[in-house]
């Protein structure tokens, strides 16, 4: 069974630029999550999708972050414009049910 795929793996941008991350969950998993993990901290949930609907985006900075999950499969997370404090690893996870989350390898973002 293929795991959660994410791309790109690394991205370096300058502040005020835009960036987008892509996630392909495990086939058949209805739930998809995006997390932000700042160095030395635990992951923080940004947004949770159930199929193509948003379940929770209470911790998403909506003035600069947006996410979509078209057709209930792949998802993209966008930051526009980026700030220095957005430097982090962005993790995508999927789940067939509430109990187990399967994480992708993450995208490491550095904002200069």
């Amino acid at each position: 069974e293929a795991g959660v795929a994410q791309s790109p793996r690394y991205k370096i941008i300058e502040k005020r630029q835009s960036v987008a991350f892509w996630c392909n969950p495990i086939s058949g998993h209805a739930t998809l999550y995006w997390y932000q993990q700042i160095l030395g901290q635990g992951p923080k949930l940004l947004i949770q999708f159930q199929n193509n609907g948003v379940v929770d985006d209470s911790q998403l900075p909506k003035d600069r972050f947006s996410a979509e999950r078209l057709k209930g499969v792949d998802s993209t997370l966008k930051i526009q414009p980026a700030k220095l404090e957005d430097s982090a690893v962005y993790l995508c996870a999927s789940s067939p049910h509430q109990e187990t989350q399967y994480f992708g390898p993450g995208t490491r973002l550095l904002v200069l």
């Binding site: 635990g42 992951p43 399967y102 994480f103």
Partner: protein, 103 residues
């Protein structure tokens, strides 16, 4: 929001030793999980344990929801157990315990 505190922040063991990691949370959590993040950054779900005790090989976990804490036990540790162990709910995770197992 719910606060999650993990202890100890750092732990160094010799291979073969046993250890206990603790997770305290400020309010009731109905979807507590434990994860292992390996040195390459990959997060692996270890346990979904809102209450009770579960075991998987050398690892076991216990959550006492009424007292708002959870414990992760690692027995006969191996170098491959090194990494950061996180506990938390879907929304909030602690800052982790950095475990180093030396050969």
């Amino acid at each position: 929001g719910i606060q999650v505190e993990q202890s100890p922040p750092d732990l160094i063991l010799q291979e073969g030793a046993n250890s206990t990691l603790r997770c305290n949370f400020s309010d009731s959590v109905n979807n507590l999980q434990w994860f292992h993040q390996n040195p390459w950054g990959q997060l692996i779900n270890l346990f979904y344990i809102p209450s009770g005790t579960k075991q998987n090989g050398r690892l076991s976990a216990t959550t006492v929801a009424t007292e708002r804490y959870s414990l992760l036990y690692i027995s006969s540790s191996q170098t491959t157990d090194s990494g950061v162990y996180f506990c938390g709910s879907r929304l909030t995770f602690g800052e982790g315990t950095q475990l180093t197992v030396n050969p």
